[in-house]
């Protein structure tokens, strides 16, 4: 049955291999130059000198258009790979057999349905994980220099951090978990719906929903957030942000060595510990930010922030991947149960 599954999987495997090969060629061709620029930028040893920000800014600015463009293409690619796997490998796996009625051929040989499904599901899931893993390996390696440099710029609008919405799902091992989950999700949709195109649509839709809802509702709570209280001075206020109920609050400052932390929520409080609304400071209502900074600096305000430290990147990766793999196993169990109960409609 394994040999048959491999035979039936030939086209998909070839497509994946071709895509990986093309990617590998592009990355191998452009990698040396990128890493060369990184090495000569001095960012690797900047922590000791304390001048990371200017070095990082200069490095990022020097990158030619291709590198910036491909950096984002890589992110897009890795966001798509699990979705494509689920939709084009997972959904048609069983529906093809139902639509062509070949399940009548497959289920009347000398193998049980359980073994039949186990081989197809197992092989496909392994291939899905390997494919996503290789894509991630290649792109994580190639994107390493930029991933490191960008958070060091320490500007007020840095969102490209490893724990962020763009990078966390497209680096490390999380794509492996997503790919396995998406694949089994597709197979489940196929087992329930039994027609290819609707199953593909349902797979894509539900997987997209999970990928959008998860980082907003669940990932922030995978580990209990850390808390910090940061004193706000005229020198370290980076800017203002909208607060709850129409108030305005102070963006938390990024201290050296804290680049890459994922800030989940923050609140500005006055010395008495009450929530503080920046709109009550007259100097901040104008367009000039300098007087506002000075005014706020004199008020001895503090920011209370809840965040996930950058150092938790790998722990969170393992947790998230583990949860998605467990979900894949649960869905697979459901598929086995459903296939065995022989509820065939006419």
């Amino acid at each position: 049955m394994i040999r048959l599954s491999m035979l039936q999987f030939r086209t998909q495997a070839a497509t994946a291999a071709a895509a990986l090969a093309v990617l590998a060629v592009i990355l191998a061709a452009s990698g040396p130059h990128l890493f060369g620029m990184y090495d000569s930028s001095g960012i690797a040893t900047c922590q000791a000198h304390g001048d990371c920000a200017p070095l990082a800014i200069s490095f990022v600015n020097k990158l030619a258009g291709f590198y910036a463009a491909f950096y984002f293409i890589g992110i897009g690619l890795l966001l798509l790979v699990p979705a494509v796997i689920g939709t084009f490998w997972g959904a048609p796996l069983i529906t093809r057999e139902f639509e062509a009625s070949t399940f009548q051929l497959a289920w009347t040989q000398s193998v049980t349905r359980t073994r039949w499904l186990a081989a197809k599901l197992g092989l496909g899931a392994l291939a899905a994980m390997a494919t996503a893993g290789l894509f991630s390996l290649l792109l994580t390696w190639w994107s390493g220099p930029v991933d490191t440099a960008v958070p060091l710029e320490q500007g007020p609008n840095i969102t490209i951090i490893r724990l962020g919405y763009a990078l966390f799902p497209t680096r490390g091992i999380t794509p492996i978990g997503y790919a396995a989950f998406a694949f089994v999700l597709g197979v489940t949709a196929g087992v329930l719906i039994r027609r290819t195109v609707p199953a593909m649509a349902v797979t894509l839709g539900s997987f997209a929903f999970v990928q959008i809802a998860w980082p907003i509702w669940i990932r922030p709570h995978l580990l209990p957030p850390a808390h910090a209280i940061m004193a706000l001075t005229a020198a370290n206020i980076p800017g203002l942000a909208a607060g709850p109920g129409g108030t305005t609050i102070v963006n938390p400052p990024i201290l050296p060595g804290r680049a890459g932390d994922w800030v989940l929520s923050f609140q500005t409080i006055d010395p008495a510990g009450r929530p503080f609304n920046v709109n009550t400071v007259k100097a901040c209502l104008g367009t000039n930010f300098q007087p506002c900074q000075n005014a706020l600096g004199r008020l001895h305000l503090r920011d209370v922030i809840a965040y996930q430290p950058a150092s938790r990147f790998w722990v969170l990766q393992w947790y998230e991947t583990g949860i998605f793999l467990a979900a894949a196993v649960l869905l697979a169990g459901f598929c086995f149960w459903s296939i065995r109960s022989r509820r065939l409609s006419r």
């Binding site: 051929l105 289920w107 349905r113």
Partner: protein, 295 residues
């Protein structure tokens, strides 16, 4: 003699309709069984239940003494050729044989290749581009080469031209002659079955109407023609299956195990086709009568 297929009160329901009901059969081994009935009568349902592709809603079925699709050993003893002979369209003929070899421990590869060669099929040709007759022969080869004790075929010749039909049945009968395989074969045309079947099951509107050895059925059914009379006046052991009257004449198709003593009847034998048609029209009349009662 043991039964290859034994059912007791077997039934299968889809949503609100019963595709098969109250089916009780004991099909002996070593026969070529014809399962005949109009489209939608429940033939495919019964065969799928026997092949283990469906589970019963009520009642029991045992195939070769075990539950259908009970495990790899039981699956290996039964071969199934589905309606419309499905094949993997993009897979060449040779890969289908590899499929058979990989999935069946008792696979007879030499026989499979010999058969494919005799049939003139190109092993490299994709199965989707074969003609209907060639596809039927391919799926029959796949089923035969696993050397089953029981072969189940669902309307295998329905969409074949007469020559392909004859070739298919020839190949099937040769396999039966060689191995003594039991065969259950369904069709909605009696003519297909007359040549090859020695056991008949007539299925109309999801119920079995009559079942038995063909020779016994033909021996116990007669067409009686004579002067016009009331069929209710017949002796007790004679069951009227079909009747028609003109103003002067009555023609009946009766089932009886006793000789006909009444000299005013002209007694003639009944062909299998006439027998099946009679039971089919009786079933239809029963249904009409039931609907009339309801409305």
């Amino acid at each position: 003699m043991s039964a290859v297929i034994e059912t007791r009160g077997l039934g299968r329901q889809y949503r609100r309709t019963w595709a098969l009901r109250d089916c009780t059969l004991a099909i002996p081994e070593g026969r070529v069984v014809g399962l005949v009935g109009p489209n939608g009568a429940g033939k495919t349902t019964l065969l799928r239940l026997a092949a283990g592709l469906l589970a019963p809603t009520c009642g029991t079925i045992s195939v070769l003494g075990e539950e259908p699709a009970a495990g790899p050993a039981q699956l290996a003893r039964v071969g199934f050729v589905a309606q419309d002979t499905p094949v993997y369209a993009r897979m060449p003929v040779s890969d289908h044989l590899r499929l058979g070899a990989w999935l069946n421990p008792a696979w007879d590869d030499e026989m499979a290749r010999r058969r494919i060669g005799q049939l003139g099929l190109d092993p490299r040709q994709r199965a989707g581009s074969l003609s209907g007759g060639e596809r039927a022969q391919l799926t029959l080869t796949l089923a035969l080469a696993k050397r089953p004790e029981l072969l189940i075929l669902d309307e295998p010749v329905a969409s074949l031209d007469p020559l392909a039909r004859r070739e298919f049945l020839r190949g099937l009968m040769e396999a039966v002659a060689e191995d003594g395989t039991s065969v259950v074969l369904s069709s909605h045309l009696v003519a297909d079955l007359e040549r090859v079947c020695d056991y008949l099951v007539v299925l109309v509107a999801s119920r079995v109407r009559v079942a038995g050895e063909v020779s016994a059925l033909l021996a116990s059914h007669h067409r009686l023609s004579g002067p016009r009379r009331d069929p209710g006046a017949l002796p007790a052991g004679q069951e009227v299956i079909e009747e028609s009257h003109t103003d002067k004449q009555t023609i009946l198709l009766v089932r009886t195990d006793e000789p006909i003593h009444d000299p005013s009847w002209t007694v003639r034998p009944v062909s299998m086709e006439d027998l099946v048609l009679a039971y089919m029209s009786r079933a239809r009349d029963d249904r009409t009568r039931r609907l009339e009662v309801v409305s």
